[in-house]
Structure formats: structure tokens, C-alpha cells
Amino acid sequence: MLEINNLRVDLEENGKSILKGINLTVGTGSVHAIMGPNGSGKSTLSYVLSGRDGYSVTEGSIKLDGEDLLSKEAEERAAHGLFLAFQYPVEIPGVGNLTFLRTAVNAQRKVRGEPEMKSGEFLKLVREKAQELKIDSEMLKRSVNVGFSGGEKKRNEILQMIMLEPKLCVLDETDSGLDIDAMKLVSSGVNALRDEKRGFLVITHYQRLLNYIQPDFVHILVDGRIVKSGTGELALEVEHNGYADILAEMA
């Protein structure tokens, strides 16, 4: 479903090259994990996928379900089924969490030609999903992410993901900042979404998350390139030995 071909990306502000030829295909129903040292370009990849400004794609292509993503605006990509759970979710004072969620759900429905979700139906669904993630209803009323703890912000990302039912879910270090119980909640939220129509790209530093969300493939991103790909075993290897062996192999 997701096909990334020879993707090269520079930072717009200073021309620094960050992604240096990424090739990656995520098939429907599969979970791919991306690991890699700090600063290797993992978040950059997730931002470029989601259409954030500030990057220039100098080469390559990204397709989701056969459609070119790069020519689409961020909001069009979302409506087309792409979702990014941010490494650092943004605080938006004055915009209520529920208002935000309902606006987003209905905006996407509109693009897809579906009817708006009725207020009652929406509230019922949000409350139910929030409860599963142990997000209390008081938090739903607050401004988006304002005053949320690190872990609460991450759970809020997953709530949005569940409500929006994307085709491709990109999770950027959703596990960092989560306690063990929250990690289990979030993982079961993610696992509940796993089905043959949906793909996942899970960025993480820790193998532990992958015990809960078991990946079909693991890729190691170093300095803007995928230098090694394998199965879940590869994550265990990284957990034990760090990136030293892999870097040595490259040299």
C-alpha cells in the first residue's frame, strides 16, 4: 500500500541533506518497525510522509494505494488515509479536544463524500474509545494537549488515530514517555486496529514495544538510509548490541 522509492530530502532552510535514498514498501496488513540512532532521519521521514512544510524532496516518490502523496496537501493526505502519531504532539490552547476531533473526523468524511457524524453518535464513540485508553472525560474537554502529561499526549494521539481509522498509521516514538501499563493500553489500541486492509510504520528506539506490537519487518535507518532490514529478530539484536555491529558492517 505504501511505496517509497529512492526518497531524497533536504532541509529547505539550509539545504542539509537528511534522507539519502529511502526505499520502503509496506504491504497491506503488515507492521513495519523503523529503528535507528538519534538524528538518523526517522522523524523527518514521518513528517515528509505527512506533508509538513520545510523539506524539499529532491528525488524519489511516495505512493499510497497507488496515488502520489507528494503532490497532495497535508490535509488531503490525511483524508486519503495517512495518519502520523507525533513524537512531540502539539499543544493548542483554546481549541477544545472534542471540537478538534469532531472537526477532523467530519473534515475527512466530507472529502470522502461520507455524511457528517452526528454529534450524539460521535460523543458516544469518543467516550467509549477514550475509556479503553483510560483517557478521562475531563481531559476530552480540555484544550488539545494543553497541560497533558507526556504519556497523556501519546494516548491522545492514539485516540485520534482510532477515531480517524486511517489506512496507514505512522507512529513516531509513541512508546517514549509511556509507563508500562500505558504502553500495554496503547499497544492493544493499535493491535485492535490491525487488519488486512491497514498498514503500520512504527518508529521506536526500544524493542519492548515490539513485544506488544509485533512487527513483520524491522528496518534500521542510519544517516538517512535504510542500512539493514529483517524480521523481529533484528530488533532484539539491536536491543542487545546497539548499532555498533551494524555500523561496523557498513564500514
Binding site: 512544510d53 499543544e91 481549541v95
Partner: protein, 428 residues
């Protein structure tokens, strides 16, 4: 070259020649005194420090610039049960107004009672205004006191069952209106006043408010619609012990608006909250000038002003908190912020604190900035279109001012007005 004072006096003379002061009656002495003030100070000039950011020329000069009438089937403001008092181009319109009768309050039309020898408003008319002339002169208000022939005088003895709604229609392209209202709220009573409408091509309005012990006054105003209108308005409020004054103004459209609010907290434990939200697109200049004097212990004041500006619109805020030596335990707060939606718009702010008491808490802040790009992207990444996301963030920005309104249904009406305005003014 003429010096500044000569020039201002000359401008006053020219303007005064076009106006006619009513003779006799209970208000005559106040009018004559106000006229003397105007003659002495002259009318504002752009060289005045107090008018540094706003050019008063069109507010001052003899003839008014014409203002096209804005025709629309826009929903009316304030869908709430209220006593309607309608002025058309600054003249009371009996046929469009409700009967001036409401339990607990006494309402007179100024024009009807001018010839009377005595009137309860005599102790207020021009009196609170003249107190508000120091330390900064406000000649357009004095001009108003001298020459106003219409307006309402409201004496609140007991809290009425509904708000009084002043509606200012604009029907002639060259109308030049002067209105003067006096509001007295007696001990323990409370009044809500709603104001809306474009009023006239040029509008000079003055409202004097006196709050007795434990009285409260709520004011919600929407100024807008006609793009070419000009207005200078003054509110002068004098607060006795344990009284509450709350005012919120929404301004949309209008070439030039200068709203001055002058509040004196002269009784202990009184509260004054003054808030404003404005949205301006293009040829729009909006000036909020606020002066709050703390002259008694234990009083709270808040000033919260938010402006959204685009396409060369200009916003001005001049806000002062003066704390006199006797006003210990003052809590004063002031914030003014502008959201500039492009590089052509500008915001000029002059926040001031002047404090002579030592046991006070006062804070002020002023900022101007663009839309938060991070937040915008976050919303877009969830599927919200750029324009809609920008509107959401803009409404959130205005929220702090709008939330100052206590009545929830009015808050909702204001928010929906704002969001439909934003929708109509999305950059194409």
C-alpha cells in the same frame, strides 16, 4: 506655522460653528462648561501624544466623510429577550422602539427632557465625563456633552427582567450622529445594556455610568457591518464600593473606530473588567484606549483585548492602570494581543502602569504575532483544511477576550458571528 494648541482650537471653532447647543434646562450648565473645555483644549490633532497611533482628522473635521450603507440579510445581533431602543442616524425612532417602560427602571429620552428644569441625571450628565478629562483630555467627549440632543437616561432602581438594547441603525450616507446616554444603577441593582449597529457615517457617542454601592453593570456591544463608518465612543464609569462593571466589545469592519473606556474605582472592593475583540480586514483602523484609575482599596481590574488583523488593517491599544496612593491591595491585569494574518497589518500598543501604592499586584503584557505554524500543521495533519484550521486557531486566539462575557448564550452568538466573519474573509 500655527502652534499645536492654536491649531486644535481653530479646529474646535470650525466644528462648533456647525453645531447648535440646546438652550436652558437642567443640562445647560454642564453643556456650557463642556463647551468651555472644548474651546480651551481644542479638538484632537494627530500631533497629540494621545492620538499618536490614530489620526483623528476625520473624527474632528467639520463635514463627515460619507459612508455607504451595507445591505445584507445578515442575521441580527442579540437574539435575546430585550427592551429595544432604536436610533436611526443618531435620532430616536419611536416606531421601531419598544415602549420605554420596564419594571424597576425609569427611562427618559434625552431630547424629551432637555427643557425640564430638574432631572435626576443632572448629578451625572457631564460630571463623570469631566472627571475623566484629567489627567488626559478627551475633547470629543466634551464636545458630545455640549451638543448631544438625543440619547437615553436610565435610572435603575431594581434589577429589570431583561436587558436594555440600544440599536443604532444607519440610513443616510452622510449622517453625523451625536448621542449621549446616562446610566445610574442604584444600590444592589443590576443592569445589562446591549449595543449594536453601525449608527451613522460618523458617530460620536458618550455614555456615563454611575454605580452605587453593590450595583452592577454589564455591557455587551457589537460594532460593525458598514465598512466605511467612523466612530469615536467614550464610556465613563464611576464605581462605588462593591460594585461591578463589565464591558465587552466586538468590532468588525469600519474604517475608523476609537473606543475609549475611562473607569474610576472609587469605592472599596469594586471590580472593573473591560474586554474587546476585533477582526479587521483591509481599510480598518481600530483603537482601544482604556484608562482605569484605582482610587480605593481592594479593587480588581482586568483589561483583555484581542485583535485579528489582515490586509493592511491596523490595531491600536493604549491601556493604562493608574493606582493612587490610597489604593492598597489593588489587583490590576492588562493584556493586549494581536494576531497578524499577513505582513501588511500592524498593531501598535502602549501599555502603561503608574503606581503610587506599595501593596499592589499589577501585571501587563502585549504581544503580536502570526498564526502558530506548528499548530496549523498539526490540525491539517488530521485532515482539517488549512483555511478551517486557521479559523479554529483564530477563534481560539480571540477566546480569552470573548470568555469575559458572562452570559453563555451571548458568548455563543458572538462566537458564531466571529466564525462567519472569518469564513467570509478567508484569503482566496
Amino acid at each position: 506655522m500655527m502652534n499645536l494648541l492654536q491649531e486644535k482650537r481653530e479646529a474646535a471653532k470650525l466644528r462648533i460653528n456647525t453645531l447648535k447647543m440646546p438652550e436652558g434646562g437642567w443640562s445647560f450648565a454642564a453643556r456650557a462648561a463642556a463647551l468651555e473645555r472644548v474651546k480651551r483644549t481644542g479638538l484632537p490633532s494627530r500631533r497629540d501624544e494621545y492620538w499618536k497611533f490614530t489620526n483623528p482628522e476625520t473624527l474632528v473635521k467639520q463635514a463627515t466623510e460619507s459612508a455607504a450603507l451595507f445591505k445584507s440579510d445578515e442575521v441580527p445581533f442579540f437574539e435575546t429577550d430585550r427592551l429595544k431602543i432604536v436610533f436611526i442616524d443618531g435620532v430616536f425612532c419611536e416606531s421601531s422602539s419598544d415602549d420605554l417602560v420596564l419594571n424597576g427602571i425609569e427611562i427618559d429620552r434625552l431630547a424629551d427632557v432637555i427643557p425640564n428644569k430638574v432631572h435626576w441625571a443632572q448629578s451625572i450628565y457631564g460630571v463623570i465625563e469631566s472627571r475623566g478629562q484629567t489627567p488626559v483630555e478627551r475633547p470629543l467627549a466634551a464636545l458630545n456633552t455640549a451638543f448631544a440632543t438625543d440619547g437615553v437616561l436610565i435610572n435603575v432602581k431594581r434589577t429589570p427582567s431583561k436587558p436594555v438594547s440600544l440599536i443604532y441603525d444607519h440610513s443616510s450616507e452622510n449622517s453625523d450622529a451625536i448621542l449621549h446616554h446616562v446610566i445610574k444603577v442604584n444600590s444592589g441593582a443590576s443592569l445589562t445594556v446591549l449595543e449594536n449597529g453601525p449608527a451613522a457615517a460618523r458617530f460620536n457617542k458618550c455614555m456615563e455610568i454611575q454605580l452605587a454601592e453593590g450595583a452592577s453593570f454589564h455591557h455587551i456591544r457589537t460594532q460593525g457591518r458598514d465598512h466605511e463608518r467612523r466612530a469615536s465612543t467614550h464610556m465613563f464609569a464611576q464605581l462605588n464600593a462593591s460594585s461591578t462593571f463589565k464591558s465587552f466589545t466586538l468590532t468588525v469592519n469600519g474604517r475608523l473606530t476609537r473606543n475609549e473606556v475611562v473607569v474610576e474605582l472609587s469605592g472599596e472592593n469594586s471590580i472593573a473588567n473591560i474586554a474587546g475583540a476585533c477582526v479587521g480586514d483591509g481599510d480598518f483602523h481600530h483603537d482601544d484606549t482604556v484608562f482605569v484609575t484605582h482610587a480605593a482599596e481592594n479593587c480588581d481590574s482586568r483589561q483583555v483585548f484581542k485583535k485579528v488583523l489582515r490586509n493592511g488593517a491596523t490595531g491600536v491599544f493604549q491601556g493604562k492602570i493608574l493606582v493612587k496612593q490610597c489604593a492598597q491591595k489593588t489587583d490590576g491585569y492588562q493584556i493586549s494581543q494581536a494576531l497578524l494574518l499577513d505582513n501588511d497589518s500592524q498593531f501598535n500598543a502602549k501599555p502603561e502602569l503608574e503606581i503610587y501604592a506599595d501593596d499592589v499586584v499589577c501585571s501587563h503584557g502585549s504581544t503580536s504575532g502570526a498564526i502558530d505554524e506548528e499548530a496549523l500543521f498539526y490540525l491539517r495533519s488530521r485532515g482539517v483544511e488549512r483555511a478551517e484550521a486557521a479559523d479554529l486557531l483564530t477563534l481560539a486566539f480571540l477566546g480569552e477576550a470573548v470568555e469575559e462575557i458572562e452570559d453563555e448564550s451571548l458568548t455563543e452568538q458572538i462566537v458564531s458571528l466571529l466564525s462567519s466573519w472569518l469564513m467570509r474573509h478567508r484569503p482566496s
